[in-house]
């Protein structure tokens, strides 16, 4: 009885100590990089120069970056700036995973915010599902970014849909042996998906790393990198994530 009480007390104590240690670590980290935590309203010239300076050091070219976007903690302005940074760096596909389900409703707002931030920066921003909203290029040899909002229904429900179509005989899926191989099923499944490369990198904020149901089929080799322990998205944290990504080499099971 007494020992059980003691254990419970120690349990609370352990968690309290961890909480304090994490808090102290966060404060010290914040003091070390004082200026990087100020979220700005707009992409500045200094940001662009800073990105351009760092781009040549990145050897692994990112093709598709996914942001776990939580509309409760991220502002539209932060997400819009992320798109512009990626435009400067030259990441061709940027997707937002709609964790809470409310980003989709703010798509138009996000579009205008991106256009507002883009002023004076060469390049072209295209919306994967809205060809009529497509921006235009100004400048030669500029980058293009395809922006896309991914939701839960693009993941498991679409795989279920695919199996349903195969079962009904409405979708062709070859089978050489008793069971489909990943390649055979994958070929059929790709017909239901837009031609976008699999994500190379998922970035998230906050202490919890979770996929929240993001594209189960497509994330097999995706790296998950935390941008900030709090929910800030700023240019230093973004560059930090890119550097982290560049250190990893892929081994493909070998």
């Amino acid at each position: 009885m007494l020992s059980k009480l003691l254990r419970q007390l120690l349990y609370i104590l352990v968690h309290l100590v961890v909480k304090i240690l994490v808090a102290v670590q966060n404060v010290s980290r914040r003091l070390c990089s004082k200026n990087c935590n100020l979220s700005k309203e707009q992409v500045t010239k200094r940001d662009v120069l800073m990105l351009l300076e760092n781009v040549p050091k990145m050897k692994n070219k990112l093709k598709h970056l996914v942001v776990l976007a939580d509309s409760n903690v991220h502002t539209i302005s932060e997400l819009a700036q992320l798109v512009i940074w990626n435009l400067v760096v030259g990441v061709p596909y940027v997707s937002f995973y709609d964790v809470t389900g409310s980003l989709k409703k703010m798509e138009e707002e996000l579009f205008y915010e991106i256009e507002r931030n883009k002023k004076g920066i060469p390049g072209c921003i295209k919306w994967s599902n809205k060809p009529d909203l497509n921006g235009y290029t100004n400048g030669i040899q500029a980058n293009t970014v395809f922006v896309n909002i991914i939701s839960y229904s693009d993941g498991k429900p679409r795989i279920a849909q695919c199996i349903k179509l195969i079962a009904k005989g409405d979708l062709q899926c070859d089978r050489m042996s008793k069971e489909f191989t990943a390649q055979e099923f994958g070929e059929a499944f790709m017909k239901l998906n837009p031609a976008i490369p699999d994500p190379d990198l998922v970035i998230f904020t906050g202490p919890l790393c979770c996929t929240f149901g993001l594209l189960p089929w497509q994330i097999r080799l995706t790296e998950f990198i935390q941008v900030d322990v709090h929910h800030n998205i700023n240019i230093n944290c973004y560059l930090g994530a890119l550097y982290k990504y560049n250190k990893c080499d892929q081994r493909f099971g070998k």
Partner: protein
């Protein structure tokens, strides 16, 4: 000596710490990507297979910790379908290691049954050498009725392959009129897969990707990436992961009831799987 669950690897103090941590929420299903055996071997300049042997020893220690923590289900990623691309000598060494360990598993079956370990090998068994298939099937059948610790070993496995195999079972059942296309939904697929959803997934050695492991199942899982190499993983690393889980775990999603048709299909599929294992050992 017990090969699979190492005894006497916990000090009194460690056991006390386990009991303290157990006061909070403990994951009911814990998954490991046991990465870093080869880097560990390189670090000590021994050959790869020595690293894998060390990795297995660590697994048996980890299983003991999980039993003491009261975790009822543990899943480990032991061998990926992609790993067949490694050098023949390394693949052969890994297969020999599996043969050896699972033979011992069968030798120690009385003790294993006493602990109540239920073994499940998840993966495309048909790619494995036939003698190993027989051993694995025997081990699974021998522990079929145990229920204290469910040990899933992903062997010759990838998450995409698992989804594809589940798709084949569902499509076949529609063709046999056991299911109608309208019965197919996300939850049915979830239950047709080899593995259930883990609450916590630990990957060692600093890599931050899933490498085709439990792709479908991790939607609500806390992913925990640790920098230590698997053979150097300690009980403190495990307790650290569990404290992280206790601090940040999302609430459990609600479970949905199956329709009678779906229930019947799942029952039939389960029976079919056991029958196939019986068939393998009878050859």
């Amino acid at each position: 000596m017990a090969t699979w669950i190492k005894q006497n690897c916990i000090s009194f103090f460690q056991l006390f710490c386990i009991k303290v941590i157990k006061n909070g929420r403990v994951p009911q299903h814990l998954a490991f990507i046991m990465d870093g055996n080869r880097r560990y071997a390189k670090k000590l300049s021994v050959n790869c297979s020595a690293g894998h042997v060390k990795g297995f020893d660590k697994l048996s220690e980890t299983l003991k910790w999980c039993l003491d923590l009261g975790i009822p289900e543990v899943t480990v990623y032991a061998f990926s379908i992609e790993n067949y691309k490694r050098s023949t000598s390394e693949v052969d060494a890994l297969m020999d290691l599996a043969r050896d360990k699972f033979k011992r598993f069968l030798d120690e079956i009385d003790q294993i049954n006493e602990w109540g370990v239920k073994l499940h090998i998840a993966g495309r068994l048909s790619l494995l050498p036939s003698d190993l298939q027989v051993i694995l099937s025997k081990a699974m059948l021998a522990t079929k009725n145990n229920n204290k610790l469910r040990l899933n070993i992903a062997y010759s496995y990838t998450g995409r392959d698992e989804i594809s195999r589940a798709a084949s079972h569902i499509v076949d059942s529609v063709q046999n009129n056991d299911l109608s296309p309208d019965d197919i939904d996300e939850d049915l697929i979830t239950q047709t897969l080899d593995l259930g959803a883990p609450e916590l997934l630990v990957r060692t050695s600093g890599e931050v990707r899933l490498s085709d492991f439990m792709l479908w199942q991790v939607s609500n899982t806390v992913l925990y990436f640790s920098d230590v190499l698997w053979p150097e993983f300690t009980i403190w690393n495990l307790l650290g992961a569990i404290i992280h889980f206790q601090r940040h775990a999302p609430p459990l999603p609600e479970e949905k009831e199956n329709s009678p048709v779906q229930q019947k299909f799942l029952k039939k599929l389960e029976n079919k799987k056991w029958q196939e294992l019986e068939k393998i050992i009878s050859f």
